[in-house]
Every structure is written in C-alpha cells, then in structure tokens.
C-alpha cells in the first residue's frame, strides 16, 4: 500500500544528484592529497590549481625520509606499536569485562556498569594538565608508555562488548561449560571470546583508527624527536608548509593505511557504528 506520491518521491533523481554531490565532496580532499603529494613543488602553485596527479611522489617522499627534523619513520613505527598494543588490550579487557557484566552474577554489577557508562560522558581533555605532571613523576615523559598505558582500557569497549555478549551468547552455553567443569576464565577464552568475534573485530578497527589518529595527548607528552605519526605530520607542516608536496606526500602515506582498512572493512565499521547508536 504505497501511494503514487511516495513512489515519485523515493525514485527522484534529485536524491541521487544530492547524494553523488555529497560523496564527491567527501572524497575530493583525499584526491587533492594525492594530486599535491605526487606533483613537483613547481607545478602545484599553478593557476588554475592542478587537478591531475603527477609523477613526483618518489621524489617528494624521499625528501620526507631525508628530513631529519620530521622523524617520519620513527613516528610511523611508534604509531604502529602504540595502536596495535592499545587495540589488543582494549579488545581483551573490553570483552572480559563485557562478558562479566552480561553473563556473570556478582554484587554491585549494576552500579559498576552505570559508573562505566557515566565515564563515557566525561571529556578526557579535562585531566590533561595533571596527567602531564603525573607522567613527569612516573618518568614517562616522551616515552611510549605515556601514550599507551592510559588507553589500554575503554569504557566504550566494555559497554559495546556487554551489549553484544548479552544478545549473542545464551546462558545455556555457559551453563554447559560449567557442567563440563570449565573455570570461568576457560569459559571466557574457549566459548565467549570466539562468539564475540564479530563485535571484537569492529571494536578493534574503531580503536585502531582512533589511536592512530589521536593527536592532543601525544602532542603534549612526546617531543619531535620521538613522535607518533600525527605529531610528526604536524611538525612537518609547521616547518615546511611552503613545501606542500613533501607535507602532502607524508600526509598521504599516513592516511592511506586507514583508508585501505576502511575500504576492506567499511561495511562492518559502519554497521558497528550504526548499531551502537541505536542502542545507546
């Protein structure tokens, strides 16, 4: 029972025009990054601005690698290490706690879960100044501990895993494990964790992207000699903003890995984000 006017509305070509336009605007800056990053310095300041990629990427990226002030490779390595460690930890601690909240009975579990949800509302930047001095006291200034340890757990991760676990895992399954004499941890490891895999994958992807892209805290606590990738990019652009070819080549290299991950897993990432939105 769909009226004629509704049919007219939903097949309107204008819908597609608007969506294609939005898609182009969303994608254009990526393309622009490639155009500038692959062109020689002389050719980017043309009028009208260039719209096609050039062949100078190797040359531009070579300048990035030769640039001692940017420490690009160190930044890349640091970002890979920090993002990987944080991702693995957030998924493990999140699924463990999520499992406990969803499937185990213990005193105070409701209040503790509520406490975790409340912390999701607190802007972390508010603790920036004392955190900076705490890191000094711990001797962690300018070390990877400072940008890793505080992020090993995530309230969002616990909450998301709890939501998924309470739907995806039946109580009978856990009961069966108990009857077989498995310990709670054994049940988590052999039954729950495999069942949580789809949600754990999405959480892992989101966590990796967020850690890879994080800026303020690494910028505050790391020096240009030992940066993460984003910090390295920022210093590169402060010092060499006239050499846009070099800066854009570096920015593209720092962005492409995430774009590739997104192209492969985009459907799951988007599904996870939309699912989380409806439930919360």
């Amino acid at each position: 029972m769909i009226s004629a006017s509704q049919r007219l509305w939903r097949t309107s070509p204008l819908t597609y025009v608007a969506l294609v336009l939005a898609a182009l605007l969303s994608i254009y800056p990526f393309y622009y990054m490639l155009v500038i990053g692959t062109r020689s310095l002389d050719s980017i300041n043309e009028v009208p601005p260039p719209v096609t990629p050039g062949g100078a990427f190797g040359d531009n990226f070579g300048r990035v690698l030769d640039n001692d002030a940017a420490n690009f490779l160190t930044g890349m390595m640091n970002s890979i290490i920090v993002s990987s460690v944080v991702t693995v930890s957030v998924v493990l601690t999140g699924s463990l706690a999520g499992f406990a909240f969803a499937k185990l009975k213990f005193r105070g579990s409701n209040a503790l879960l509520l406490a975790i949800i409340v912390t999701m509302m607190i802007p972390t930047q508010m603790g920036l100044i004392p955190l900076w001095s705490i890191m000094q006291d711990l001797g962690w200034y300018d070390t990877l501990y400072a940008v890793t340890v505080p992020f090993l757990v995530s309230a969002f991760g616990v909450f998301m895993m709890r939501q998924y676990a309470s739907q995806a895992i039946s109580d009978e399954l856990i009961e069966a494990g108990r009857v077989d004499g498995a310990s709670t941890f054994r049940i988590y490891w052999s039954i729950v964790l495999p069942a949580l895999r789809p949600a754990a994958g999405v959480l892992g992807l989101l966590t990796f992207m967020e850690t890879w892209n994080s800026f303020i805290w690494p910028y505050a606590i790391l020096t240009p000699e030992n940066p993460t990738l984003q910090v390295s990019l920022s210093f590169l652009s402060y010092a060499y903003y006239t050499d846009y070819s070099q800066v854009f080549a570096a920015t593209a290299i720092g962005t492409i890995p995430l774009v590739l991950v997104f192209l492969v897993f985009g459907r799951q990432i988007i599904g996870g984000i939309m699912e989380g939105a409806v439930k919360s």
């Binding site: 603790g127 984003q230 409806v278």
Partner: protein
C-alpha cells in the same frame, strides 16, 4: 582412552583415598571462589587504569585549580581566586567567543545537512546504499591532523583552491587566517567536512529504528512524504538527535587540533588570538606556561561546566521543539 592407557588406570574397585577427597573439596572451594569473585578480576583492569589515568587526573585538576600552582616549583592554596580571575580575563572571554562562534558555524549546518542526507539514505529503494554510506563516512577515517593540513592548503592565500574559486566570481582573495570571521569559517569547514558523514549515519540508524507501519498508515491516510518527515520522522528521531547534539557539543567545546594546525602550531591562534579556542587557552595556561598550571586547571573545569550547561540547554531546546 588411548591416553589413560599409557598411565596407570585407577582401579574402579578401590575406594577414594583421603588424598583424592581433599583434592575434590579443594576443587569445589576453588570453584565457588571462581564463580563468586572472578568477575571482579575481569572488570578490575578497567577500573584500575581508568581510576589512575582518567578519574584521578580529573579530581586533581579540581584540586590544582584551587592553588597558585607552578608545575616545577611551589604551590599555595588560594581558594576560588583562579575562578574569579576568569571573569576579568579578556583572553578567556576571547577564547569563549571564538569557541562558540566556531561551534555554531560547524554544528548547525552540519546537523541540518546530516538530517537531510540521512533522510535521503533512508529511502527504501535507494540503489548503491553501501557505496553512499561509505563515501560520506570516509572523512571520519582521516586524522584531524591530516584534515587540518589539507584544508590549510585549500585555504591558502596565494594558491589555495578557495581563493581561486572566489576569483572566478570576481571576489578578491581572502586572507583566511588573518581575520576573525574568515578563520572561523575555515576551521568550521574542517569540522563540518569530517563529522557530517558520521552524524548522518547515527541519524540514519535512528530513522531505521522507527517502525515502518507508521509510514504505511500515514501513506494510506494520504500524508505526503514531506509531511511524514515532519510528523513521524522528526518526533520519533528525538532521542537520537539529542544524542548527536550532545556529542557535537562535547566535541565542539574541546576543539583544539584544527585551529592549532591552522595557526601553524601557534597556541595563541592567530596574531591577535582571532581563533584561539578554550582548549587552546587551557593548553597555553596549563602546559605551555608551566607556572600557571593552577589557572589552566581552572580553565579546564570551566570548559567542563560549559559543556554541561550547553548540553543541558540543547537537551531542553530539542526536547521542547520536537515535543
């Protein structure tokens, strides 16, 4: 069977020895302890790490804000002096105005556009759904730093794309980071670009949770799609919309990276502080100038209060307007 055959099989006839008995009861005890207390072990990592690096710093920010606090030297208790100082600090007010200006320029168009796009994506027979969703979400995959760098060039005075486009319609080149309104516009455009797609998806998720038979009933009654949008979609979308507004508020009040990189790392945000945000001012007072950490902490708590107030205001506004 094959395993137990290699070791000595226990004789089925033999009564359980006291040793086995003790082991069994210890097993039962362990089992009881495991069921009763191990959950606390599983949630402990979150509370330990969050407590040490999330909650404790927040509390310490409050404590510091009551002191004249030098990071590397002395500190003395001064009560609420840091907070009263905020009211007469012109740089604080300047940062407040900048933050709200950029917030308005980014949040309002962004949410309207997201609402529009979500409504388009919610069409039942739309083709290439996944493609459009992925395309408009793509900007959120890029780091803020990369966005700020790329837009920095787009807004460049001499050879930037925006000034070239303006020249096509006969407008003189704009010195984007030289004036207040133009720098606000440039920074807002970065925020809009990065977050519109994300908000679109959240709103779309909210729309898809609305029962379809409501629309069918309305269509039978002859309600136009436009009317359906106003009378069904918008009111039913209220909780999701409030969620999105509050998220945008938290993000907008803490805006830092875009203006910092737009100013090439200058924490003042332009020569006349044209686009220094509250978060930048907090950073300037608390991290760059180590001797005013107490005042920086007061700025941090002020931001927190502002977030709560603005969120509450938005919450009431959205709730009332959507009835």
């Amino acid at each position: 069977m094959s395993l137990s055959a290699t070791t000595a099989p226990p004789s089925p006839a033999a009564p359980p020895s006291p040793d086995v008995d003790r082991r069994r009861s210890r097993g039962r005890l362990l089992n009881r302890l495991d069921v009763k207390y191990s959950p606390y072990l599983y949630i402990a990592p979150f509370f330990l790490i969050f407590g040490a690096f999330g909650l404790y710093p927040m509390v310490r920010t409050a404590w510091m804000s009551l002191h004249d606090w030098d990071m590397i030297g002395e500190h003395s208790f001064i009560g609420f002096d840091n907070y009263t100082r905020l009211f007469s600090d012109e740089y604080f007010w300047n940062a407040l105005v900048n933050t709200f200006g950029i917030f308005a320029l980014s949040t309002i168009p962004q949410l309207l556009l997201a609402l529009f796009l979500a409504n388009l994506l919610n069409r039942t027979f739309l083709r290439a759904k996944t493609f459009f969703r992925m395309a408009i979400f793509m900007p959120n995959v890029v780091s803020v730093a990369a966005v700020a760098i790329v837009f920095g060039m787009l807004f460049q005075r001499e050879f930037g794309l925006f000034n070239w486009l303006l020249s096509l319609v006969g407008v003189d080149p704009v010195d984007w980071d030289g004036q207040r309104w133009s720098s606000w516009f440039a920074i807002s455009s970065m925020v809009n670009w990065r977050w519109t797609g994300y908000n679109t998806l959240i709103l779309l998720a909210g729309m898809q949770a609305i029962p379809k038979d409501l629309y069918e009933a309305a269509a039978i009654d002859g309600a136009s799609p436009w009317r359906q949008f106003w009378q069904i979609t918008l009111p039913m979308l209220k909780p999701t919309f409030i969620f999105v507004v509050i998220l945008s508020t938290i993000g907008g009040m803490q805006l830092f990276t875009e203006p910092l990189l737009f100013a090439n790392g200058n924490i003042l945000g332009g020569s006349q502080r044209e686009f220094q945000t509250l978060a930048m001012y907090m950073y300037e007072m608390g991290i760059v100038n180590l001797n005013s950490a107490g005042y920086g902490a007061a700025v941090a708590w002020a931001i927190f209060m502002i977030i709560i107030l603005v969120s509450l205001f938005n919450f009431l506004l959205v709730r009332r307007s959507a009835k």
